[in-house]
Symmetry: C2
Subunit: 192 residues, 2 copies
Amino acid sequence: MGDDHSSARPLRADARRSRERVLQIAQEALAGDGLTISFDEIARRAGVGVGTVYRHFPTEEALFEAVLLGRIERFLADARGLATAEDPGRAFFGWFAKVVDEAAANQALCDMLESGSRTALRPGSTLEDDFAAAIDRLLARAQRVGAVRPGLTGQDVADLLRGCLVAERRARSRRGTVRMADVVCDGMRPSG
Amino acid sequence: MGDDHSSARPLRADARRSRERVLQIAQEALAGDGLTISFDEIARRAGVGVGTVYRHFPTEEALFEAVLLGRIERFLADARGLATAEDPGRAFFGWFAKVVDEAAANQALCDMLESGSRTALRPGSTLEDDFAAAIDRLLARAQRVGAVRPGLTGQDVADLLRGCLVAERRARSRRGTVRMADVVCDGMRPSG
DNA sequence: TAGAATCGCGAGGCTCTCTCCGCTTGCGCC
DNA sequence: GGCGCAAGCGGAGAGAGCCTCGCGATTCTA
Protein backbone atom coordinates (compact mmCIF):
# COMPACT_ATOMS: atom_id res chain seq x y z
CA MET A 1 0.00 0.00 0.00
CA GLY A 2 2.81 2.36 0.82
CA ASP A 3 3.92 3.07 -2.73
CA ASP A 4 4.50 1.61 -6.12
CA HIS A 5 8.07 0.62 -6.72
CA SER A 6 6.96 -2.76 -7.92
CA SER A 7 5.58 -2.84 -11.42
CA ALA A 8 5.83 0.78 -12.59
CA ARG A 9 9.02 2.14 -14.05
CA PRO A 10 11.87 2.74 -11.62
CA LEU A 11 12.01 5.99 -9.73
CA ARG A 12 13.94 8.85 -11.19
CA ALA A 13 17.33 9.33 -9.60
CA ASP A 14 16.40 12.41 -7.62
CA ALA A 15 13.21 10.82 -6.46
CA ARG A 16 15.02 7.78 -5.20
CA ARG A 17 17.47 9.98 -3.33
CA SER A 18 14.67 11.93 -1.68
CA ARG A 19 12.76 8.82 -0.77
CA GLU A 20 15.70 7.15 0.87
CA ARG A 21 16.71 10.25 2.73
CA VAL A 22 13.21 10.69 4.12
CA LEU A 23 12.98 7.05 5.07
CA GLN A 24 16.28 7.14 6.89
CA ILE A 25 15.39 10.26 8.83
CA ALA A 26 12.01 8.80 9.68
CA GLN A 27 13.62 5.62 10.96
CA GLU A 28 15.96 7.52 13.22
CA ALA A 29 13.30 9.89 14.43
CA LEU A 30 10.76 7.17 15.12
CA ALA A 31 13.19 4.98 16.99
CA GLY A 32 13.94 7.88 19.29
CA ASP A 33 10.69 9.72 19.72
CA GLY A 34 8.10 7.13 18.91
CA LEU A 35 5.14 8.13 16.80
CA THR A 36 5.03 11.74 17.89
CA ILE A 37 7.23 13.17 15.15
CA SER A 38 5.44 15.37 12.63
CA PHE A 39 5.71 15.32 8.86
CA ASP A 40 6.84 18.92 8.90
CA GLU A 41 9.64 18.00 11.24
CA ILE A 42 10.68 14.97 9.20
CA ALA A 43 10.78 17.14 6.09
CA ARG A 44 12.85 19.75 7.88
CA ARG A 45 15.39 17.22 9.15
CA ALA A 46 15.59 15.50 5.79
CA GLY A 47 16.16 18.83 4.10
CA VAL A 48 13.24 18.50 1.74
CA GLY A 49 9.84 20.14 1.46
CA VAL A 50 6.77 18.68 3.09
CA GLY A 51 5.30 18.08 -0.32
CA THR A 52 8.15 15.75 -1.14
CA VAL A 53 7.52 13.66 1.91
CA TYR A 54 3.87 13.40 0.97
CA ARG A 55 4.70 12.52 -2.60
CA HIS A 56 6.49 9.41 -1.45
CA PHE A 57 4.34 8.60 1.53
CA PRO A 58 0.80 9.82 0.98
CA THR A 59 -0.18 9.34 4.60
CA GLU A 60 1.41 8.94 7.97
CA GLU A 61 0.47 5.34 7.80
CA ALA A 62 2.30 4.73 4.55
CA LEU A 63 5.46 6.16 6.01
CA PHE A 64 5.20 4.25 9.24
CA GLU A 65 4.50 1.06 7.39
CA ALA A 66 7.57 1.57 5.24
CA VAL A 67 9.70 2.09 8.33
CA LEU A 68 8.12 -0.82 10.10
CA LEU A 69 8.65 -3.15 7.19
CA GLY A 70 12.38 -3.40 7.73
CA ARG A 71 12.03 -4.35 11.34
CA ILE A 72 9.21 -6.77 10.87
CA GLU A 73 11.01 -8.53 8.10
CA ARG A 74 13.72 -9.56 10.46
CA PHE A 75 11.14 -11.19 12.66
CA LEU A 76 9.66 -12.95 9.68
CA ALA A 77 13.10 -14.14 8.61
CA ASP A 78 13.71 -15.51 12.09
CA ALA A 79 10.43 -17.36 11.89
CA ARG A 80 11.34 -18.86 8.53
CA GLY A 81 14.73 -19.89 9.88
CA LEU A 82 13.06 -21.77 12.69
CA ALA A 83 10.61 -23.58 10.43
CA THR A 84 12.73 -26.72 10.51
CA ALA A 85 14.06 -26.49 14.04
CA GLU A 86 14.42 -29.69 16.01
CA ASP A 87 12.09 -28.81 18.85
CA PRO A 88 9.02 -27.10 17.37
CA GLY A 89 7.67 -26.10 20.76
CA ARG A 90 10.90 -24.51 21.81
CA ALA A 91 11.18 -22.77 18.43
CA PHE A 92 7.69 -21.35 18.67
CA PHE A 93 7.88 -20.09 22.21
CA GLY A 94 11.43 -18.86 21.80
CA TRP A 95 10.48 -16.87 18.76
CA PHE A 96 7.44 -15.39 20.49
CA ALA A 97 9.42 -14.28 23.51
CA LYS A 98 12.25 -12.91 21.42
CA VAL A 99 9.95 -10.79 19.31
CA VAL A 100 8.24 -9.38 22.37
CA ASP A 101 11.59 -8.71 23.94
CA GLU A 102 13.12 -6.91 20.99
CA ALA A 103 10.01 -4.99 20.15
CA ALA A 104 9.57 -3.81 23.72
CA ALA A 105 12.94 -2.12 23.48
CA ASN A 106 12.00 -0.06 20.45
CA GLN A 107 9.70 2.83 21.10
CA ALA A 108 8.38 3.27 17.59
CA LEU A 109 7.98 -0.42 17.03
CA CYS A 110 5.86 -0.64 20.14
CA ASP A 111 3.73 2.27 19.12
CA MET A 112 3.16 0.70 15.78
CA LEU A 113 2.58 -2.84 16.87
CA GLU A 114 0.17 -1.81 19.53
CA SER A 115 -3.35 -1.18 18.48
CA GLY A 116 -4.71 2.29 17.95
CA SER A 117 -5.70 4.43 15.06
CA ARG A 118 -2.21 5.39 13.97
CA THR A 119 -0.86 1.96 13.37
CA ALA A 120 -0.05 0.53 9.98
CA LEU A 121 -0.64 -3.01 11.14
CA ARG A 122 -4.38 -3.03 10.98
CA PRO A 123 -6.20 -6.30 10.65
CA GLY A 124 -6.46 -7.06 6.97
CA SER A 125 -3.34 -5.23 5.85
CA THR A 126 -0.77 -7.08 3.77
CA LEU A 127 1.88 -6.75 6.44
CA GLU A 128 -0.47 -8.17 8.99
CA ASP A 129 -1.27 -11.13 6.78
CA ASP A 130 2.39 -11.87 6.16
CA PHE A 131 2.97 -11.74 9.84
CA ALA A 132 0.20 -14.18 10.59
CA ALA A 133 1.33 -16.47 7.79
CA ALA A 134 4.87 -16.62 9.14
CA ILE A 135 3.53 -17.47 12.54
CA ASP A 136 1.26 -20.13 11.11
CA ARG A 137 4.10 -22.35 10.06
CA LEU A 138 5.84 -22.27 13.43
CA LEU A 139 2.53 -22.70 15.13
CA ALA A 140 1.33 -25.67 13.09
CA ARG A 141 4.45 -27.66 13.84
CA ALA A 142 4.31 -26.82 17.52
CA GLN A 143 0.70 -27.87 17.66
CA ARG A 144 1.43 -31.10 15.88
CA VAL A 145 3.82 -32.19 18.62
CA GLY A 146 1.39 -31.07 21.28
CA ALA A 147 3.41 -28.13 22.54
CA VAL A 148 0.70 -25.59 21.81
CA ARG A 149 -3.00 -25.93 22.45
CA PRO A 150 -5.06 -26.72 19.37
CA GLY A 151 -7.61 -24.22 18.13
CA LEU A 152 -5.19 -21.33 18.20
CA THR A 153 -4.56 -19.71 14.81
CA GLY A 154 -1.72 -17.57 13.53
CA GLN A 155 -3.95 -14.55 13.81
CA ASP A 156 -4.73 -15.40 17.40
CA VAL A 157 -1.05 -15.63 18.16
CA ALA A 158 -0.37 -12.35 16.40
CA ASP A 159 -3.03 -10.68 18.51
CA LEU A 160 -1.67 -12.25 21.67
CA LEU A 161 1.79 -11.12 20.73
CA ARG A 162 0.58 -7.60 20.44
CA GLY A 163 -1.27 -7.77 23.70
CA CYS A 164 1.76 -9.26 25.35
CA LEU A 165 3.84 -6.41 24.05
CA VAL A 166 1.47 -3.88 25.57
CA ALA A 167 1.69 -5.64 28.90
CA GLU A 168 5.43 -6.04 28.70
CA ARG A 169 5.98 -2.43 27.88
CA ARG A 170 3.94 -1.25 30.82
CA ALA A 171 5.64 -3.73 33.09
CA ARG A 172 9.02 -2.38 32.05
CA SER A 173 8.02 1.21 32.52
CA ARG A 174 7.29 0.47 36.16
CA ARG A 175 10.26 -1.86 36.51
CA GLY A 176 8.11 -4.94 36.93
CA THR A 177 10.00 -8.21 37.09
CA VAL A 178 7.59 -10.72 35.60
CA ARG A 179 8.17 -11.51 31.95
CA MET A 180 4.79 -11.18 30.37
CA ALA A 181 5.84 -13.43 27.52
CA ASP A 182 6.33 -16.27 30.02
CA VAL A 183 2.80 -15.89 31.28
CA VAL A 184 1.26 -15.67 27.84
CA CYS A 185 3.36 -18.51 26.50
CA ASP A 186 2.23 -20.73 29.35
CA GLY A 187 -1.31 -19.78 28.44
CA MET A 188 -0.80 -21.02 24.93
CA ARG A 189 0.31 -24.45 26.11
CA PRO A 190 -2.26 -27.21 26.16
CA SER A 191 -4.30 -26.92 29.32
CA GLY A 192 -4.25 -29.65 31.94
CA MET B 1 -5.75 14.64 39.27
CA GLY B 2 -8.68 15.64 37.12
CA ASP B 3 -9.93 18.50 39.26
CA ASP B 4 -10.42 19.73 42.78
CA HIS B 5 -13.87 19.12 44.12
CA SER B 6 -12.39 17.71 47.27
CA SER B 7 -11.02 20.28 49.69
CA ALA B 8 -11.70 23.61 48.00
CA ARG B 9 -15.05 25.31 48.29
CA PRO B 10 -17.92 23.76 46.40
CA LEU B 11 -18.48 24.74 42.80
CA ARG B 12 -20.88 27.49 42.04
CA ALA B 13 -24.26 26.30 40.79
CA ASP B 14 -23.68 27.30 37.18
CA ALA B 15 -20.23 25.78 37.21
CA ARG B 16 -21.55 22.50 38.51
CA ARG B 17 -24.19 22.48 35.80
CA SER B 18 -21.62 23.14 33.10
CA ARG B 19 -19.31 20.49 34.42
CA GLU B 20 -21.96 17.84 34.51
CA ARG B 21 -23.28 18.72 31.12
CA VAL B 22 -19.82 18.49 29.60
CA LEU B 23 -19.13 15.23 31.34
CA GLN B 24 -22.35 13.71 30.12
CA ILE B 25 -21.79 14.77 26.55
CA ALA B 26 -18.25 13.50 26.71
CA GLN B 27 -19.45 10.15 27.99
CA GLU B 28 -21.93 9.76 25.19
CA ALA B 29 -19.52 10.95 22.53
CA LEU B 30 -16.68 8.77 23.71
CA ALA B 31 -18.79 5.66 23.93
CA GLY B 32 -19.79 6.18 20.31
CA ASP B 33 -16.75 7.59 18.58
CA GLY B 34 -13.91 6.50 20.78
CA LEU B 35 -11.18 8.95 21.51
CA THR B 36 -11.44 10.90 18.28
CA ILE B 37 -13.85 13.55 19.44
CA SER B 38 -12.40 17.06 19.75
CA PHE B 39 -12.80 19.52 22.59
CA ASP B 40 -14.38 22.00 20.23
CA GLU B 41 -16.98 19.46 19.28
CA ILE B 42 -17.68 18.50 22.86
CA ALA B 43 -18.12 22.17 23.72
CA ARG B 44 -20.47 22.67 20.79
CA ARG B 45 -22.62 19.68 21.67
CA ALA B 46 -22.70 20.65 25.32
CA GLY B 47 -23.72 24.18 24.38
CA VAL B 48 -20.82 25.82 26.16
CA GLY B 49 -17.65 27.57 25.05
CA VAL B 50 -14.38 25.74 24.63
CA GLY B 51 -12.96 27.78 27.46
CA THR B 52 -15.52 26.31 29.80
CA VAL B 53 -14.56 22.78 28.90
CA TYR B 54 -10.94 23.60 29.53
CA ARG B 55 -11.77 25.28 32.80
CA HIS B 56 -13.18 22.06 34.16
CA PHE B 57 -10.85 19.67 32.41
CA PRO B 58 -7.49 21.31 31.80
CA THR B 59 -6.34 18.59 29.45
CA GLU B 60 -7.77 15.84 27.33
CA GLU B 61 -6.44 13.45 29.84
CA ALA B 62 -8.31 15.02 32.73
CA LEU B 63 -11.57 14.75 30.85
CA PHE B 64 -10.99 11.19 29.75
CA GLU B 65 -10.00 10.20 33.25
CA ALA B 66 -13.18 11.71 34.63
CA VAL B 67 -15.25 9.78 32.13
CA LEU B 68 -13.31 6.62 32.74
CA LEU B 69 -13.70 6.86 36.48
CA GLY B 70 -17.35 5.93 36.42
CA ARG B 71 -16.78 2.81 34.39
CA ILE B 72 -13.74 1.66 36.25
CA GLU B 73 -15.46 2.08 39.57
CA ARG B 74 -17.94 -0.57 38.67
CA PHE B 75 -15.10 -2.98 38.03
CA LEU B 76 -13.57 -2.07 41.35
CA ALA B 77 -16.89 -2.59 43.10
CA ASP B 78 -17.18 -6.02 41.51
CA ALA B 79 -13.72 -6.86 42.77
CA ARG B 80 -14.62 -5.77 46.29
CA GLY B 81 -17.78 -7.81 46.17
CA LEU B 82 -15.78 -10.90 45.30
CA ALA B 83 -13.25 -10.37 48.07
CA THR B 84 -14.97 -12.97 50.25
CA ALA B 85 -16.17 -15.35 47.57
CA GLU B 86 -16.04 -19.03 48.33
CA ASP B 87 -13.73 -20.07 45.55
CA PRO B 88 -10.93 -17.46 45.32
CA GLY B 89 -9.55 -18.87 42.11
CA ARG B 90 -12.91 -18.83 40.41
CA ALA B 91 -13.53 -15.31 41.71
CA PHE B 92 -10.23 -14.02 40.40
CA PHE B 93 -10.41 -15.55 36.94
CA GLY B 94 -14.09 -14.81 36.61
CA TRP B 95 -13.52 -11.18 37.42
CA PHE B 96 -10.61 -10.92 34.99
CA ALA B 97 -12.57 -12.40 32.13
CA LYS B 98 -15.62 -10.31 32.86
CA VAL B 99 -13.69 -7.08 32.85
CA VAL B 100 -12.01 -7.94 29.56
CA ASP B 101 -15.35 -8.90 28.13
CA GLU B 102 -17.20 -5.77 29.13
CA ALA B 103 -14.37 -3.45 28.30
CA ALA B 104 -13.92 -4.97 24.85
CA ALA B 105 -17.48 -3.95 24.04
CA ASN B 106 -16.91 -0.29 24.81
CA GLN B 107 -14.94 1.64 22.25
CA ALA B 108 -13.82 4.48 24.44
CA LEU B 109 -13.02 2.24 27.35
CA CYS B 110 -10.77 0.21 25.11
CA ASP B 111 -9.04 3.23 23.75
CA MET B 112 -8.41 4.45 27.23
CA LEU B 113 -7.38 1.21 28.82
CA GLU B 114 -4.99 0.42 26.06
CA SER B 115 -1.59 1.93 26.24
CA GLY B 116 -0.63 4.95 24.22
CA SER B 117 0.00 8.59 24.85
CA ARG B 118 -3.62 9.64 25.11
CA THR B 119 -4.63 7.42 27.95
CA ALA B 120 -5.41 8.61 31.44
CA LEU B 121 -4.37 5.32 32.98
CA ARG B 122 -0.66 5.84 32.94
CA PRO B 123 1.46 3.85 35.32
CA GLY B 124 1.69 5.83 38.53
CA SER B 125 -1.66 7.58 38.27
CA THR B 126 -4.08 7.38 41.17
CA LEU B 127 -6.64 5.53 39.12
CA GLU B 128 -4.05 3.00 38.12
CA ASP B 129 -3.02 2.47 41.72
CA ASP B 130 -6.61 1.97 42.85
CA PHE B 131 -7.04 -0.53 40.11
CA ALA B 132 -3.98 -2.49 41.08
CA ALA B 133 -4.97 -2.37 44.74
CA ALA B 134 -8.41 -3.79 44.03
CA ILE B 135 -6.83 -6.58 42.06
CA ASP B 136 -4.34 -7.25 44.81
CA ARG B 137 -6.95 -8.50 47.22
CA LEU B 138 -8.52 -10.92 44.78
CA LEU B 139 -5.10 -12.00 43.68
CA ALA B 140 -3.67 -12.63 47.12
CA ARG B 141 -6.50 -14.95 48.07
CA ALA B 142 -6.29 -16.82 44.81
CA GLN B 143 -2.58 -17.25 45.25
CA ARG B 144 -3.01 -18.48 48.81
CA VAL B 145 -5.13 -21.39 47.64
CA GLY B 146 -2.71 -22.12 44.82
CA ALA B 147 -5.00 -21.08 41.99
CA VAL B 148 -2.64 -18.42 40.65
CA ARG B 149 1.10 -18.68 40.25
CA PRO B 150 3.07 -16.91 42.93
CA GLY B 151 5.25 -13.95 42.04
CA LEU B 152 2.52 -12.19 40.13
CA THR B 153 1.55 -8.79 41.54
CA GLY B 154 -1.58 -6.70 41.15
CA GLN B 155 0.29 -4.43 38.80
CA ASP B 156 1.33 -7.41 36.71
CA VAL B 157 -2.25 -8.52 36.47
CA ALA B 158 -3.39 -5.02 35.56
CA ASP B 159 -0.85 -4.94 32.76
CA LEU B 160 -1.88 -8.38 31.58
CA LEU B 161 -5.48 -7.31 31.65
CA ARG B 162 -4.71 -4.43 29.42
CA GLY B 163 -2.70 -6.55 27.07
CA CYS B 164 -5.46 -9.10 27.01
CA LEU B 165 -7.92 -6.41 26.11
CA VAL B 166 -5.79 -5.32 23.17
CA ALA B 167 -5.65 -8.88 21.94
CA GLU B 168 -9.33 -9.46 22.54
CA ARG B 169 -10.33 -6.35 20.68
CA ARG B 170 -8.29 -7.26 17.65
CA ALA B 171 -9.60 -10.79 17.75
CA ARG B 172 -13.16 -9.50 17.76
CA SER B 173 -12.56 -7.09 14.92
CA ARG B 174 -11.58 -10.03 12.71
CA ARG B 175 -14.24 -12.31 14.19
CA GLY B 176 -11.74 -14.59 15.89
CA THR B 177 -13.21 -17.27 18.07
CA VAL B 178 -10.61 -17.81 20.75
CA ARG B 179 -11.25 -15.97 23.99
CA MET B 180 -8.01 -14.26 24.77
CA ALA B 181 -8.91 -14.09 28.44
CA ASP B 182 -8.95 -17.89 28.56
CA VAL B 183 -5.43 -18.07 27.22
CA VAL B 184 -4.09 -15.38 29.51
CA CYS B 185 -5.91 -16.79 32.54
CA ASP B 186 -4.38 -20.19 31.90
CA GLY B 187 -1.04 -18.48 31.75
CA MET B 188 -1.57 -17.04 35.20
CA ARG B 189 -2.19 -20.46 36.70
CA PRO B 190 0.67 -22.20 38.44
CA SER B 191 2.84 -23.88 35.83
CA GLY B 192 3.15 -27.62 35.79
C1' DT C 1 19.84 18.74 -27.13
C1' DA C 2 14.90 19.25 -26.86
C1' DG C 3 10.51 17.75 -25.41
C1' DA C 4 7.95 15.20 -22.19
C1' DA C 5 7.36 13.10 -18.03
C1' DT C 6 8.34 13.32 -13.40
C1' DC C 7 9.55 15.44 -9.20
C1' DG C 8 10.43 19.27 -5.63
C1' DC C 9 8.72 22.58 -3.01
C1' DG C 10 6.49 25.51 0.34
C1' DA C 11 2.58 28.67 0.74
C1' DG C 12 -1.70 28.10 2.53
C1' DG C 13 -6.26 25.90 3.86
C1' DC C 14 -8.14 23.27 7.25
C1' DT C 15 -8.59 21.29 11.91
C1' DC C 16 -7.32 20.72 16.48
C1' DT C 17 -5.45 22.11 21.08
C1' DC C 18 -5.12 25.37 24.39
C1' DT C 19 -4.80 30.48 26.31
C1' DC C 20 -6.25 34.91 27.49
C1' DC C 21 -9.05 38.37 29.14
C1' DG C 22 -13.27 41.24 28.91
C1' DC C 23 -18.00 40.20 30.02
C1' DT C 24 -21.59 37.85 32.80
C1' DT C 25 -23.53 35.46 36.70
C1' DG C 26 -24.39 33.72 41.13
C1' DC C 27 -23.55 34.36 46.12
C1' DG C 28 -23.18 36.49 50.56
C1' DC C 29 -23.94 40.62 53.04
C1' DC C 30 -26.19 44.68 54.20
C1' DG D 1 -34.27 43.78 47.57
C1' DG D 2 -29.93 45.68 46.13
C1' DC D 3 -24.75 45.74 45.78
C1' DG D 4 -20.07 44.32 45.18
C1' DC D 5 -17.04 41.01 43.93
C1' DA D 6 -15.20 36.54 43.33
C1' DA D 7 -16.09 32.91 40.22
C1' DG D 8 -17.27 31.39 35.97
C1' DC D 9 -18.21 31.89 30.81
C1' DG D 10 -16.99 32.28 26.11
C1' DG D 11 -14.88 32.73 21.86
C1' DA D 12 -11.27 35.02 19.19
C1' DG D 13 -6.95 33.76 18.05
C1' DA D 14 -2.12 31.85 18.50
C1' DG D 15 0.37 27.89 17.43
C1' DA D 16 1.08 23.39 15.61
C1' DG D 17 0.08 19.65 12.62
C1' DC D 18 -1.85 17.41 8.40
C1' DC D 19 -2.36 17.57 3.77
C1' DT D 20 -3.11 19.79 -1.14
C1' DC D 21 -2.07 22.25 -5.13
C1' DG D 22 0.23 23.78 -9.05
C1' DC D 23 4.26 26.07 -10.99
C1' DG D 24 9.00 25.81 -11.82
C1' DA D 25 13.04 22.65 -11.89
C1' DT D 26 15.15 18.29 -12.96
C1' DT D 27 15.80 14.00 -15.19
C1' DC D 28 14.99 10.77 -18.73
C1' DT D 29 14.34 9.48 -23.64
C1' DA D 30 14.87 9.76 -28.37
